[in-house]
Symmetry: C2
Subunit: 302 residues, 2 copies
């Protein structure tokens, strides 16, 4: 079954308000925020990704969920399958770097033997934890940073020869800055940087917030649906690298997507890319007029 | 590498007091208790175990860690790999039963595609969370319930023909009660019942507490080592089913093991099975005198 079918089965078990109907990035219980993300080898990371980077990513994707709820990290628990000694050692090195970088303590977890399925629970605190469902008609949709770089990184790593040739030759053209190199794209894929400070600064002024993990379009559509609103995105406005439709469906960006009043003063840099209105559904446009939705809005599990 | 080698690598990353040096069943942050346990198919459960029971066990083993810290459950997060539709549906049914049984809400989690590695984080609250390391010289070691039934259940399930013949013929002799049937042993293995109420009642009067998950001897030795004490266990005193040495090394009991003053009035039924003293190491005895430690004290990962 699909993830969404499974969530429909689980929802009756998740009636506690802290569960937010299993529709949010995280559970919110008082001022505590909890998230639990799993990375599967060959699904969420590549078998030859350096273990240090896998550790970084495992922490970063969870911290990104905390960031989306405006939370400061309190600690993490790790579920780790022992496998190869060198891999395990390198993983611990990378985990140490990442924990130090984000100033988060390791609190506990579990060690097992089994396939490389890594789990992490992050605990945070947030005075105000914006949901996905609070957008209001007339709100603008904003996104932090630039979309699509991690997607180019993954694309480069997957291509025969690791795509090194093409990207080094062509350079990546960036719509909002100077040219970027292959290494930057690969690094964006392997070592995403959760927007923790931005999330905490934005939480008091946004009406809804989430992170962009599965793709800008699919995640934006989820926010609109959770808020019972229609949403139009202006593709020309989206800060991106590479081909626009690839960028907005690629995922792994870990930028923050949020709804706020169109005249609010933003405490951190972000770009207005769309508008919420009464109605349902996601529509796209650019300077030439309406743009058809792509078949696939982003990454889904099945 | 072994689990203990891996923990030695991780320990420098876990300097926060809530981590308790990665030596405890759970992390304890103020009055919050966090545990994260992973079950791997063919390692922690059998491929033909009913998915309903796997769901129960996943919840129960985590709640047992909360019980060992005297905590009342607050909620859980689930990490779940989608696989086969029937399996997934049956798992959700079992999870619902178990959550209802233990009155714990599902708060969130993550759904992925991948091998059957199931993770769960349980969050609890405890005014006093006893550690493993607080036993004092002169304390008695106590255990709740009966040891070895789950081990007999696993043994029965693993034997050709599921062991149905032998156990139905022989019945299991129980040292502290009437004969038990195969179904009770299998149920103890597949549907352990965490000692939540007992843990909460015991927390104020114990000096150290943990659950018996890997085996009575290995877990008792861990408590003694964490407390920097020697421990002698009287095998004749251990309430058990089946062969004594098999029972005390089998694991999966999820009973509570605790150190308390020998003259304390216990709020729940438990049996005194040993004594802590100054020194190091675990020793065994029975009515005939000293008993050699078995080669394997319990279950370890590698």
């Amino acid at each position: 079954m699909t993830e969404s079918d499974f969530l429909a089965l689980l929802r009756p078990l998740a009636t506690h308000p802290a569960a937010r109907g299993l529709m949010d990035d995280a559970a919110v219980l008082g001022d505590l925020v909890f998230t639990h993300d799993v990375l599967v080898e060959a699904v969420h990371f590549l078998p030859d990704d350096p273990p240090q980077d896998v550790a970084w990513k495992l922490l970063a994707v969870n911290l990104s969920d905390l960031a989306a709820k405006g939370a400061a990290p309190v600690g993490v628990l790790l579920g780790y399958p022992l496998s190869d000694d060198d891999w395990d050692r390198a993983f611990v090195t990378g985990l140490g770097e990442a924990l130090t970088h984000f100033d988060v303590p390791l609190l506990g977890g579990d060690t097992v033997r089994g396939p490389r399925v890594l789990s992490l629970t992050a605990i945070g605190r947030s005075a105000i934890a914006p949901s996905r469902s609070g957008a209001r008609a007339g709100d603008a949709l904003y996104v932090t940073g630039v979309i699509g770089l991690a997607g180019l990184g993954l694309d480069a790593l997957r291509r025969p020869g690791g795509g090194r040739g093409r990207l080094l030759d062509e350079r990546i053209s960036v719509s909002s800055g100077p040219g970027l190199r292959r290494d930057d794209a690969v690094s964006a894929y392997r070592r995403p940087v959760p927007r923790l400070a931005e999330g905490q600064a934005l939480a008091p002024i946004v009406h809804a917030m989430m992170d962009v993990s599965d793709g800008l379009l699919i995640d934006a559509e989820r926010m609109a649906a959770a808020s019972n609103l229609a949403l139009e995105i202006d593709l020309d406005a989206v800060p991106h690298v590479g081909e626009i439709m690839a960028a907005v469906t690629a995922g792994d960006d870990y930028e923050l997507l949020f709804a706020a009043a169109p005249d609010v003063r933003l405490p951190v840099p972000a770009t207005r890319i769309g508008t919420f209105s009464d109605g349902v559904g996601l529509t796209l446009r650019n300077a030439s007029g309406p743009v058809a939705l792509p078949q696939r809005l982003g990454y889904t599990h099945g």
